[in-house]
Amino acid sequence: MKAFGGFVRGASLGNTSLTWRASFATSGGNITIARDSSLTGTEAASGNSNLTSQAASFEIGNNILLSGREVSPYLRLTRAITTRDAYTEQANSFPIAYSEHIQAATTATVGVKMRSALSSSVALRYGLGLDFDLSRNDASIEGTSQIPGMTSISVAAPAVQNNARLLVTSGLTRFFDNGSSMNFDLGLQQDTYSSSTTVIGSVGYTIQF
């Protein structure tokens, strides 16, 4: 799966401390979906399909200097749509023909990002946010087969466990004299479809010229 995107950030809306950002992203690729035979008396099957996603986001915030910290409360709207194309399995006995499956969600995020200098070359970043589902379309997974008693298949998509999800982020940026920097980030976010928490870690290197 490959993803591409772009963004525009305005650091000062109308010569005020208001900031804004508009962004988009798209991803897509061919996927193989496999069904195993781990249960007794079942057959393995697999099929190829395309999985495509698009997302757009708009954020408005306010940069405030507060006790030596940069504090940026923000409000963000994000719309994401993911489509798995229709496909038919390759199976020896009973292949299943799946219909197109689409999931879409519109979420609003309110949060605050903060940044402070630990030293002349190290910055500490941290944030807190809360995602709210404004709408979510989790259609059933539909298909047909020649299996007796199962010629029409409709399986419910995962049930949403958390309509509101907490997001906590923290990170360090180390600046170097040559204008480059390294960043280390760690985030925790409540999962939409389970009671568990997703842990997100990243490391990056930035060079500016």
Binding site: F7, S38, A80, H101, D191, G204, Y205
Partner: protein, 321 residues
Amino acid sequence: MIAKQQFGKPHMHKSKIVNNSKKILPTFVLLLGTTALSGLPNVAMADEEMIIIADTNGDGTIDGTAGEWATGNSYTDAISPDGSFIAGRADDGTADRAFRWDATNGMVNLADTDGDGVIDGSASEWATGNSYTDAISSDGSFIAGRANDGTADRAFRWDATNGMVNIADTDGDGVVGTPGSGEWATSFSTASAMSSDGSVIVGYARDSSNILRAFMYGGGGVMLDATNTQTSIVQNASAQGAAVASVNSSISAIVQTEIEVAPPVHLNFFADPQSANKLPTAINIMASRSSNENASNISIASITAAVALPNELTVGGFAAL
């Protein structure tokens, strides 16, 4: 069975005919006509012609020759919709044998593939014990039932090309339960019904825990546990939904990708075109991984580039794998 209707047209019935008053129970069909059978007392007669299908030459005697092998009791189990084909079982003096009857070929012993009158236990004549029929396809090409291979009853499908196929013996090695073969119906299996075109058979079989489980059999040559197959499909579809949801969540996160670029300090972009080369630019490479105990773990490598423009604008783009 063909019975005469009120207005004289034949009407088809699927039935078993059992005459308990005789030791030997020949299987028969009725055809329109007026000839009565002789020498077979207590056989119901009407103004139709009753044909004893085991009595191929119609001489009233079942003599045990190749064409009249069903010397013992015989029964019908299924009939094609147009009445052209009948499936049943008949005793050849050794065991009950599944048969197909039609007017051209007579009563054909399905277990006796080479037609030599002996079920020799070879790969093609594995049904050495009793065999029974349960269903026949609309055109009579396929018959399903069960047959004993000397160890247990096995569900079978018969057609003229492949003969009697033990559908519990997935790899066809003559042994049901070969490790790694997926052969789970080790002690008993039988067909119950068949689709009209013969492509799908359903039945039931005992698994290794001695529990009877419904099965289905299609073109792939594998006897599938019906319940487990349905469970597997539901689990797979549910996992698909979860995966799509995970991707949708990921793109919602990816779209937030952004890097900062220090603003131009001495830039006079519009006044001096040469200064365009001084637009501050940043490039970031990043590796990230998200982990969730109940969802997919996702690893992403990305490269992001951004340029700072006048008026405190930053424009950037990214690519991720």
